[in-house]
Amino acid sequence: MEIPYTVDARPDTGLYNAKLGIWLFLASEVMLFGALFTSYILLRVGAPVWPRGSEILNVPLATINTVVLISSSITMVMSWASLKMKDFKKYRVFMGLTFLLGVAFLVIKSFEYGAKFEHHLFPSNNTFFAIYFTLTGLHGLHVIGGMIVNAYFWGPGSRMWKTDPERFTNRVEVAGLYWHFVDLVWIFLFPVLYLL
């Protein structure tokens, strides 16, 4: 038994299964983060005072992290493009870079968290820190999830390149769509928490 359209697009929809699947999954993720951002707005407009993020959070570190994540999105696209051009070695390099940039993001983030904990700033301090830790923590979990997938496709998962190269390219594309979404969430988080 074969499931149709795992590799080729269905003619009338123009999509292969996994691509439609990941877009639907991302739609639900939009609703998840959308609900959290909405909660943020509701809590903020209901609060008598609200601290300015730029005064208590580390804006330079977060700016570096923004650059790191955007770069990782670029290397992710490059890795997929390399597969499209049948250059597996280049793919390994770019996918490896994507993973390492993810590590860099988490390391910088952990420095930020560590500094906050050192100054006894916890989620329980006030609503600002509560939403800050919740949103960035959940985003961090998404980054870790994406890194696990990327590491798998860099390592053991890449064996599929030999047996079914087209399907493997599709998989990397789908993983890339998720990775770009995680990147996009950060691009919303950064101004909302650090700058506004």
Partner: protein
Amino acid sequence: MSDPHSRAAAGHSAQTHGTDGRHKEDFLRKYVFSNDHKVIGIQYGITSLIFLLFGFTLMMMMRWQLAYPEQPIPAMRFALPFGLVGLIVLAFSRLRPGIHMVVGMAILLMGWLVYWLATNDEMMPGGIMLPEFYNSLGAMHGTIMVFLGVVPLAVGAFGNYVMPLQIGAPDMAFPKLNMISYWVYFVGGVVMLSSFFVPGGAANSGWTSYPPLSDIATTGQTAWLIGMVFLITSSLLGSVNFIVTIIQLRAKGLAFMRLPFFVWAQFVTAFLLLLAFPPLEAAGILQLMDRLAGTSFFLPSGLVVSGELLPNTGGGSPLLWQHLFWFLAHPEVYVLILPAMGIIAEIIANNTRKPLWGYKSLVYAAAFLGFMSFIVWAHHMFLTGMGTSISSFFQTTTMIISIPSVIILSALLISLHGGSIRFNSAMLFALAFLPMFGIGGLTGLPLGLSSSDIALHDTYYVIGHFHYVVAPGTIFALFAGIYYWFPKVTGRILNERLGKVHFWGSFVCMNVIFFPMLIQGLAGVSRRLYDGGSQYAHALGVLYLNEWMSVGAWAMALFQVVFVVNLFLSLRKGEAAAQNHWQATTLDWSATPTPPVAHGNFARVPEVFRGPYEYSVPGAAADFTPQNQPL
């Protein structure tokens, strides 16, 4: 193994029976961690039916407390039926591993859990129910019935099993993901059940878990939240799978407007699950943070509990939870009802032997219903003081959303006109669905109007209303679906005589249970009172109804025993079903063997040439023309 899949796959498995080790692995892959949508559908079906039975028993214990407050509960009387049914099912297994054994053991385990709960000294000292425990039972009854019973049965079981067959697909688009969905749901269920054993008992803040109460409630609430995160994840994965399967794996010639209405209902339902559940997941995460990390997302400043100021940072909003919760839970209402409508549509078209009246209006109404269900949520919150302008917006959208529901119900009712109706058990349940859902829907209108809701809010009227929608509504539709598709799944027909006993008994009992709730509610009796309202003067006149309803509920349980016995008796000794037993037009019956081929469903890949309900076409050879019959 006695179930027919093993028979269908006998040729396949015969080669692997050589050594014991290989056989064991084969068994795990085929029945436990199977990727086959049919096996997963059956797993969902069995698990959710057991949860329904358990949730129903929790309610029967509550009904004892309501009918005879302060009297010791006869624990054995509640646990014994489980024990008996469990032993009967075990007897069917002849002590060989297989479906009977698993189900029999599960039912015995439930019986033990019920007995343990009813004799637990912390919750029921001397057999008398503490108010806290009554609250736990209420919260867990709601949660189990909705999230572990009805939705997994309607979507997980029927959707999984029937939908790929009806669209001519060899399986779901992502079979492995499908398997993961089931097991994540299973873990969520286990977490929910285990919460009965944590200190303070299971969650006791209602199935809606409103803060601030839920934020400061006992540990059971944390287990509830963790369980919900599992259940939500399972639904999300499942709904992605459903939508992709329906869009991508339709057979050749099966255009969207040729889909059976059941598939349309599942399609809209999957979108609701996909988009409405994440906000509840967000809310669950925030409440977990409140409970575990000491934040106060839902705790207002200056909160006083038991005369003491709560040492929290404050600044949170209890209303925020209600918005996030109902943003899920209103679409959830349509998740409960849409698959039921889909099942009813199939059965009515089949048993009236004529096309559905207004197929296109049904489809458009279902899609519109799905869309509208996202903008009516705050009609659950008229009394929170959110303001009259917001109330009038949500009251208007609520009145608008009743239109597509009325269209669907009317189309189904008109479909009966001029048909030569076959009154089998499936059809009886389907026919009963129409007036029962009608009562449920119409009693909802006064709740949707913000002024009449002031009087009715949080009374038994609300309980009566939504139970009419879900219990004699959706659950009757699910029963109808079981009678209709059981032959497809097992190759055997359910006993009609037992089926009719089951139907008439359930039909009478349902109304004995739920109609008095409407009366009590109009008299002003509040919901969630552990003594049924005996402290209130205005309730005294309608208090005698409590005993009626309770007796109705226990009688209802007896008729469900008939159903369970019928299931297992027919599985063993039932009359064999013909390939297209109901002479149906849709692919699930017309193009697959009964039961379907273990891998790939179809002996030959079907192609579709016509619409879904070509019954009694003038000039046709038979009174049904299958979708896959060439023009």
